[in-house]
Symmetry: D2
């Protein structure tokens, strides 16, 4: 199970980030991975859409109710935890891919590092992910992470982490 | 999504309860429902096994890691919440079927009533479910619940609740 | 730290239960205990009021915001967990005293047994507590619990549990 | 209630950060604030020590058990949520002061921004706080935050946020 974390719908979300997320979702499904995410819009919807284009299985860990799921979620898990459901997204995954993002994604990145989950950061995707890639915190305290430049690299690294972990 | 709540493996779990859970799982799958449960042993394993016998989809909301899932879980969601994951099982479901059970099941029954989730109690399945069926609390404060005598009745009532809710 | 669990304000809450809760709060403070509870009305307010009458310290573990606290709470801890904050009330306590109550109290009783927290049930206080005292679940699966008939007995038992635990 | 967030004990924690935290704790108590924090070592212990030096009240929101509290915590709240208790620290506070820190503090900063809690970042305190002060995420998506250079400024800003909020 591979998590994709990134921005929900918002004005500043670039088309290139959406396309990147969709491509990552597609590649995960092609290699037989289950996609898990926060189940809503923006990066999450794009990743789910990509995964479904290749017949993959998508799991959406939602804040409160099933209605919040985007149209490409197969298994909606309405946690009732509100925004705090981020910790479940990260915990449920074998590896976390983060791209773009704002505070919610930063929250998920910090949970991934706290829980010791392998983390793939997609450099150049904008938002908080690029902040983290350049940060002193990552340089000094980062563990089990890698930096990818493309969708293909991100998915390769994710599956490589899975293999090394299991 | 229909949740089944009941005892994990334990000495006192009767064969009749196991068979009842398996039959309920089978009937849920036959009618196209997704089975959600705590993902572990006992009643949960039996329900998943029944659902898979009919080609259904099973979701296990697990305490901490994927390793805890029984062999019939398709989608393991390792929450990291420990035993507190019960609240996610209940919240994720459209309706909750409870049978047999001890403190964990009583915890789920109380969450179902607190959250206002429709609740089907299988009378005669033993454990805390029979305690609740006879309780003053249910008589005075119970809302959106029904009592079933058989697996068939339980699943009929569950789907009836779903229809009336959505 | 001693938790008191019981009904929030509701039509069916009897004056005798309110008086019992106030007396328990008073006795806890007299013996130097910190009172912890859900911080709201009914049984919780009465217990806090009793504790403050003797100069005790009261901690309210609240669903979402500080505004929800009753007027006798010294330390409001707004968890943001909503009704799920029950598990924090129980976990934070050294021992749990339950009286009267409905589904929320049943939720706390089940958490106390699941977490292995010593539990004092006040018989005759009505609601779900009397259901649990008479239940098969308690008889067969109950651990570390005692049954009290009066406020004095309840507090004596609670402090006795604390002494044996620490 | 004012939260202080920062590193637990670790090799890289500088004496200057410890002294800064202690001074902030002292100033909060002097102005009548209740100090809330994660209740453990490092920045948290120093802040609690400072607050107690002026007779303040300290609340420690702990991961699992009371034993984890540092010696300056008056009210230990053992949540049972493990590291996930960070969200309760932030939610319980009226304003959050962050200094130094690693992934746990970054987690708390992201929760503060997500919950809309006023946030005071102490520039120059090192760790993730300086990363955030310089980040694009703060520049583009930051709300209700201020940057302080000294302990005095941090506490002045915190009380100013409280006044404007209530």
């Amino acid at each position: 199970m591979i998590a994709i974390c990134g921005s929900d719908d918002c004005e500043t979300l670039k088309t290139s980030s959406i396309m990147l997320a969709e491509e990552i979702g597609r590649l995960i499904a092609l290699r037989g991975g289950i996609l898990v995410c926060g189940g809503r819009g923006g990066i999450m919807r794009a990743a789910c859409k990509g995964a479904k284009a290749e017949g993959g299985l998508t799991v959406g860990i939602l804040p409160d109710t099933k209605d919040e799921a985007n149209e490409w979620v197969d298994v909606p898990v309405a946690t009732g935890l509100g925004i705090r459901r981020n910790m479940v997204v990260v915990n449920a995954a074998d590896v976390v891919i983060a791209l773009n993002g704002r505070w919610g994604t930063l929250n998920e990145i910090s949970f991934a590092q706290i829980f010791g989950k392998p983390l793939v950061l997609v450099r150049g995707s904008g938002g908080c992910v690029d902040d983290v890639v350049e940060s002193q915190t990552l340089a000094l305290c980062g563990t089990r992470y890698s930096v990818a430049e493309t969708a293909q690299e991100a998915v390769d690294q994710a599956f490589s982490w899975c293999k090394n972990t299991v």
